[in-house]
């Protein structure tokens, strides 16, 4: 059984609760061990790293230092946190930066821990491995896989398996029997923190995404980032009220695997996903 240190990030304790729960349930069912990293700290999503040993590297690097003690790689569900921790990992590969950061943290950052997104870890199991455990294939469910920006760019930082980061969600959806549709906005930014500071602008961005997903024939969107999920659900115009629910990819994996607790996850959504799932049998 492969085991990871688990970095939930700040949102998964709050607005991303269902991402955390569905991810834990899916990992348990698929034989992936998760141990939450003790005393993890915020990755500093609004800090930007230029690779030098300032707080933009040191803040996320503290998590890598803590993870180094566990002997396991670090699994990160939220795309935003994932990118920040990968930036820190990359900066620490420079010995001078690593020594300076270790001095600042008063913690060794050695060995340098691997940072893996939840998408990568689950995708890496292989579609057959997931498909054979599917109890309820999501046949006919047309989904728009929404990758957003932080798990897509820049590729030299966030890519895995030679470019598979760009199709991993689609391949996971195929593995559980759903129908990922092709659409042009899969990697377009949702507006991120503009949802708080300029909600009107965020709504313009979100509505553009929803219009494209709807035009391409999607019934729902699938995402791997709690900020994207929030923006897509809460910052949409009236035209999309009650339409196009937004799932975390792990929720759909959980439904397909027939796991318990799925209704609990659904209840947290502000855009009710039940109408889109009524054709399936929900366990738990």
């Amino acid at each position: 059984m492969r085991s990871f240190s688990y970095y939930p990030g700040c949102c998964l304790k709050g607005t991303g609760w269902e991402y955390d729960r569905s991810l834990r349930a899916v990992c348990a069912a698929l034989g992936i061990g998760l141990v939450e990293l003790p005393d993890w700290n915020c990755c500093g999503p609004l800090l930007s790293s230029d690779g030098t040993a300032g707080p933009a590297v040191a803040l996320p690097a503290r998590n890598l230092a803590l993870a180094a003690r566990t002997g396991a790689a670090l699994m990160v569900p939220c795309a935003g946190c994932y990118k920040r921790l990968r930036e820190a990992e990359r900066a620490l590969r420079n010995d001078g930066v690593r020594r300076a950061v270790e001095k600042l943290l008063r913690l060794p950052c050695d060995p340098l821990v691997e940072v893996r997104s939840a998408v990568e870890v689950l995708w890496s199991l292989g579609p057959q491995e997931i498909a054979r455990r599917v109890r309820q294939p999501l046949h006919g469910l047309r989904v728009a896989c929404y990758y957003g920006c932080r798990m897509m760019r820049p590729p030299e930082l966030v890519a895995f398996a030679g470019g598979k980061h760009q199709v991993a969600l689609d391949e996971l959806m195929v593995a559980v029997g759903a129908e990922p549709i092709t659409w042009p906005y899969k990697a377009e930014c949702c507006g991120a923190a503009l949802a708080s500071t300029r909600p009107g602008l965020a709504q313009a961005l979100v509505d553009r995404l929803l219009a494209a997903a709807q035009k391409a024939g999607a019934e729902a969107l699938v995402t791997a980032c709690s900020l994207c999920h929030g923006n897509l659900e809460w910052r949409r115009g009236r035209a999309y009220r009650g339409k196009l629910p937004v799932f975390y990819f792990t929720e759909l994996l959980g439904f397909a695997l027939g796991l318990d607790g799925t209704r609990q996850w659904l209840r947290r959504h502000l855009v009710d996903p039940l109408p889109v799932l009524h054709r399936f049998h929900l366990t738990g």
């Binding site: 700040c10 709050g14 915020c42 707080p55 503290r62 708080s196």
Partner: protein
């Protein structure tokens, strides 16, 4: 030399582009305005001065126009620009540098994005982690926007998305120290 802008004549600062290049680490002088960034930026259609125009202002030395451009505050670091720039300019880093220069020059005013960043980092310094309910309460208080998202906030709360319990690291002083200190890179 001066630039004529809608706001009037602006005296140009020929050293400005070097200052921005140094601060951002990006070769802003290489931009030849192919507008790939403008074409890919999700915010570009929504602002009068988009990403490549901001670089143009920097190249001209139009310091004030560059530092008061709305674009620098709306950039979400999505990097649609970075991956398509033929000269490898990472525009989000340029936007970050311009934000810092704007704040230092007192030109950020009470921009919502500047306030949001300040509140965000105050909470990280206080607890080491963000609790979303408290982030939004602090932020709304700071920008005096009490009514706009009340309905949404209530719905989120009812859906269990905004727990009342705050979380944090065991010793936030460690975090404050990290945010405060700068380390010299050891060779």
């Amino acid at each position: 030399m001066y630039l004529v802008t809608p706001g009037g004549k602006e005296t140009l600062d020929p050293g400005f582009w070097r200052e921005v290049r140094h601060k951002s680490g990006q070769p802003v002088e290489l931009c030849y305005h192919c507008q790939m960034c403008q074409a890919g930026c999700p915010l570009a259609p929504l602002v009068p001065v988009g990403p490549n125009r901001v670089l143009r202002l920097v190249q001209f030395g139009a310091r004030r126009s560059a530092l008061t451009a709305e674009m620098i505050w709306l950039c979400t670091t999505c990097e649609a620009c970075s991956v398509t720039c033929p000269n490898g300019i990472k525009l989000p880093r340029v936007m970050e540098a311009l934000r810092e220069l704007a704040m230092a020059a007192g030109l950020a005013g009470d921009r919502a994005e500047a306030v949001f960043r300040r509140v965000f980092h105050e909470i990280i310094a206080a607890r080491g982690r963000i609790s979303e309910l408290f982030l939004m309460l602090h932020y709304k208080l700071a920008v005096r926007d009490f009514f706009r998202d009340v309905g949404l906030g209530w719905r989120l709360f009812r859906h269990g998305k905004l727990p009342l319990k705050r979380h944090g690291v065991e010793d936030p002083r460690e975090i404050r120290r990290i945010l405060r200190e700068r380390a010299e890179v050891l060779e």
